[in-house]
Amino acid sequence: MPRLKLTVLQIGVGLIFLMLWHVLTVYPISGTPKQVQFFFSTPLDVLKRCWTLFASGEIWRHLWITLVETILAFLFGAGGGIIFGFLFARKELLAAVFDPYIKAANALPRVVLAPIFALWFGLGIWSKVALGFTLVFFIVFFNVYQGVREVSPVVLSNARMLGMNERQLLRHVYWPSALTWVFSSLHTSVGFALVGAVVGEYLGSSAGLGYKIHEAESVFDVTGVFAGMLILSVFVILIDMLVTMIENRFLVWRPQTSLAAQT
């Protein structure tokens, strides 16, 4: 499909949705507008609220905090995942011994950890970073583990026949192979870092996007909740675009079709 046509259709769907929302909440179709607006707000109100949030400069601080939490959670999670992924993939025994514990830890819904982390790390950013870490770590860990173990045996044999020692194999074969898998899961892991940050903020904090949404919710300010959600979505899309740019930069060597392979 031509790009232009696609873009027009994509915008069309959004506009129709907003029109429906507007019509149903502003005109007395499904009840008195006042009542309906209490539950659903109106698109114009939400946009107006977003505008005030940015115009007053209030939102920047919250965006910044959420961003910092996301980045820290991603860096720590990815770092830990890479180190342990490598270690476990190269040491069979370690992987075998820890296997049930890794699975058990990964099976745990992370939300239940939030109060514990709040207790351990306080209500500041570190409890959110910790929550994001637990999400990112496992994604990256499993991907690196897989990446190291699924190195093509022919490429590996070839590298060994070229006389590479363990360190050189690590640098030229295992590491790039694992990195491919890390990058292919980058969208997922960055997304989860953000989820960890926002959920953490939502459950107990004094700043961040999650906090703003929670604050609005606790006074039944539906407009505020939707405004927070809208800002959060745009924020996520921007981060995702950044990730795509980084990915294209690092995976130039890959044929285009396999870029779609994501976990």
């Binding site: 490429v155 044999s157 070839n158 026949m161 070229l162 006389g163 590479m164 050189q168 060597w253």
Partner: protein, 270 residues
Amino acid sequence: MDQATSLAAVALNDVAITFGPKVGGYTAVSGIDLSVRPGEFVAIVGPTGSGKSTILNAAAGLLKPSQGKVRIFGNDLAGLNLRSGYLFQQEALMPWKTALDNVAVALEPKGVSRSEALQRARDWLTRVGLKAFVDRYPHMLSGGQRKRVALAQVLIRDPEILLMDEPFGPLDAQTRQIMGNLLLSLWAADRKAVMFVTHDLEEAIALADRVVLLSAGPAARIIGDFPVPLPRPRDIAEVRMEPTFHHIHKEIWASLRVEVQKAYAQGEGT
């Protein structure tokens, strides 16, 4: 025999290779006696599943023989045979490195500095005709071009022995001829010992000084050893027109055909 063995670049003495358990495992080859002199080009031919690659892997040290000995220039082989270069049938290039880096990295284990390695890699890529493609990643190259890169990657290390496992198998007929001629011209420069595995008898005769014939598996043995007295330098395409070529081909094919039929009969049985 012992004299010949100690002079040989590669010598296999009574080698057998069994996969799986010692009893009840699958014996791919057994009783293999084969030696390749320095500077000699030996082709190993046999039907599918005759353990051609298995023998090559034993000479490379990638497989440890269950029985018998592998000697490289008179020394018992322990671990990988790093005096040899191995050209694989499958894709063996590192997909995350450019052609240039793939070739240059082969010099890193030898302790060659990065800048010198890059310089020499450029030279080698020029010699295999890929001067304009040094910055391409493997997926941007054709199958034949990737083989050229792989050939440069192996040869830049200047190994004393070349082990080749149906290296041109996946290529189309024309590309195979071009690659065969390229290989012969590169080989003529410094005549390394070559073990070249193929199922293509014509290719084997056109390239080699000697054709070794394996029986059908399991427990394949060497059932023929034919010298190829064709003059060098050869052109792969033209040498096929020579009467001597036909003569040798006829002689080897008579034996090979029986084994191919055996291999097929077994294949249908399973």
